[in-house]
Symmetry: C2
Subunit: 386 residues, 2 copies
Amino acid sequence: MYNFNFYNPVKVLFGPGRLNDLHGEQLPGKKALIAIGGSSVKKYGYLARLEKELDKAGVEHVLFEGIRPNPTRQNVMDGARAVRDNGCDFVIALGGGSVMDCTKCIALMAANDGDIWDYSLSGTGGKKTPANPAIPIVCITTSAGTASEVDIASVISDDEADEKTGIFYHSMFPVLSVVDSDLMMSVPPKFTAYQGMDAFFHATETVVNTKVHPMAEMFALKTIELVAKYLPAAVKNGNDREARAYMALANTLAGYYMLCTSAHTIEHTMGSFHPKLVHGAGLIMIAHVYYDFFAEKKAAEEPMIKMAKAMGVENPTSGKDFIRALDKLIADVGCAGLKMSDEGITYEELDKYPAKLHEVLGGDTSADPLPLSDGDYLAIYRNAYK
Amino acid sequence: MYNFNFYNPVKVLFGPGRLNDLHGEQLPGKKALIAIGGSSVKKYGYLARLEKELDKAGVEHVLFEGIRPNPTRQNVMDGARAVRDNGCDFVIALGGGSVMDCTKCIALMAANDGDIWDYSLSGTGGKKTPANPAIPIVCITTSAGTASEVDIASVISDDEADEKTGIFYHSMFPVLSVVDSDLMMSVPPKFTAYQGMDAFFHATETVVNTKVHPMAEMFALKTIELVAKYLPAAVKNGNDREARAYMALANTLAGYYMLCTSAHTIEHTMGSFHPKLVHGAGLIMIAHVYYDFFAEKKAAEEPMIKMAKAMGVENPTSGKDFIRALDKLIADVGCAGLKMSDEGITYEELDKYPAKLHEVLGGDTSADPLPLSDGDYLAIYRNAYK
């Protein structure tokens, strides 16, 4: 058994309608900066509901708008200044992964000098240790995809340097997160599929990971079971409240351990050349070929049989049973036609991907069922190319 | 779906040998009170290992010995005084459930005035709110049974008043717990079985509980799977390191949610009249009859089929399949011969049990698959009597 730690101090309020319970919680301050992205949280009334909860709790609040998908260094620094200028003592993220990631960094920079890049541990990051912990963070997630509501990680972009970096400190755990699937009903089918499959792949990469342990596997297999059972329904009918609730649960559960493998790195490489490629879509494009690479070599038979079982396959006997279930799931969520070429990726450019892969953020490239060489990576890209 | 909260801020170091990692952790103070029960932690060298870790970490320590099984109010107050007299700023429990429960209360009373009973919420408890949080708690568990290392609860006895009470405050979450199954190798077979079955019943009561939710069910079914697979081996050969590790995991996992039903209350009633009855043994004595009550009425078919599957039964179709697997497990861990009469319980005294049942601590008596009347309780006691 692989030894492990479990540490997750986030209090999670889970379930449809739970935003309505926020006023009853002990909130970590007296004045909140509410951070949002675009206008949809206003349009669907989520912001008004949140403001009402804060008013009931006697907590003041100011709004910080305009966090971008793939949030930027500038978003972070603007938000941190807004915290200081308005005398806020905690932050609330209301949005999906981008908003939550950015807000966690805003909380860090509200309490520390310098630039967010100073505290990045990757690439051109300054690798400095923050002098102070982040101010308290509350996350209210409106998507089921990144699980940023239960982890310490953020991904931030620097447009000028054309670079993404990961920022993660223990003080960036939210103190409180609301996972209210009623706030996810408005996610369009395509993004429901991409986000749900991202959660699915967090789990599948965990199960095949050579460093998996029984507790991580428990969370991951439950995620796989729930995604296989409920994602097709949530994609088909966004108003299916039960399917949305179970997808929200699947995503959060996957967040407790994400033992990602090369698959995430393979996708991030694609994304580094094509910033508009949606992460979940990229993962779907390479999934069949990546997993089949190991199924062909019978390199992950036991984990794949477990995953096939979790997906409802009766009496699976080989990794190929998982591959068939995976293909069916991708088709059932309407993503069988996704093509790299539709995203502007050319077959020729794939040659430069393996070298880039060693530079980008991603999963643990030493934890695949078999070690992958640059030649293997190139073969995976080429075989997945459509 | 039943809405739920998840909140567990305990950092857990899990795995055989993990006590050796303690010195590398950020410990929550400079001088620890190490609380222990009897002499076995000395005899087997666990205390020496702990002291070595603290020395390596530069943390001073003093020893507090003699915590009883079913720890007393006096144990708690003596320990709290020892903390103050020695200027300790945190506590470390090294032992099983009794030692951990007592130490959590010592930490509370080290920071608060009055008597531990003032802060009890049950029976003759004073129901006062503590003015201060407990001082930081570290738990190092030497048994796989109560999961006290990941929860806020303690059970304390008052010998003079002949009463047990439950104490639970959020500040009584340990900040750090070590679940090192190598410290459990010396538990004798009989107690390995009792403790392991206690963990099993925490899980089975959760799965049949009418208030179960998918996250609790996930933890509980994994516990059931692991106990069914590894407890017989751990009982048979206490040196089976793998079986011990998986049993330690099963127990801790069950601790994340314990949605206990009447079964726990039924047993605590027996224990209230017969204080020497070991809790796990009492649960085993009534298990077949309690679960079969619902299986006969087909009142919990779906959860029982899930539990049977988790226990390795192929294609279970009814609650009776779970009952058969349960009977087999009890036999496999050498407990089929347990008898109430061997514990001094008489058939006649059972008449007074249902009334007492409404007074003792226990599970949620409103969450059984069917509501149980006093007549039902009496019938369960009588049918389980041997």
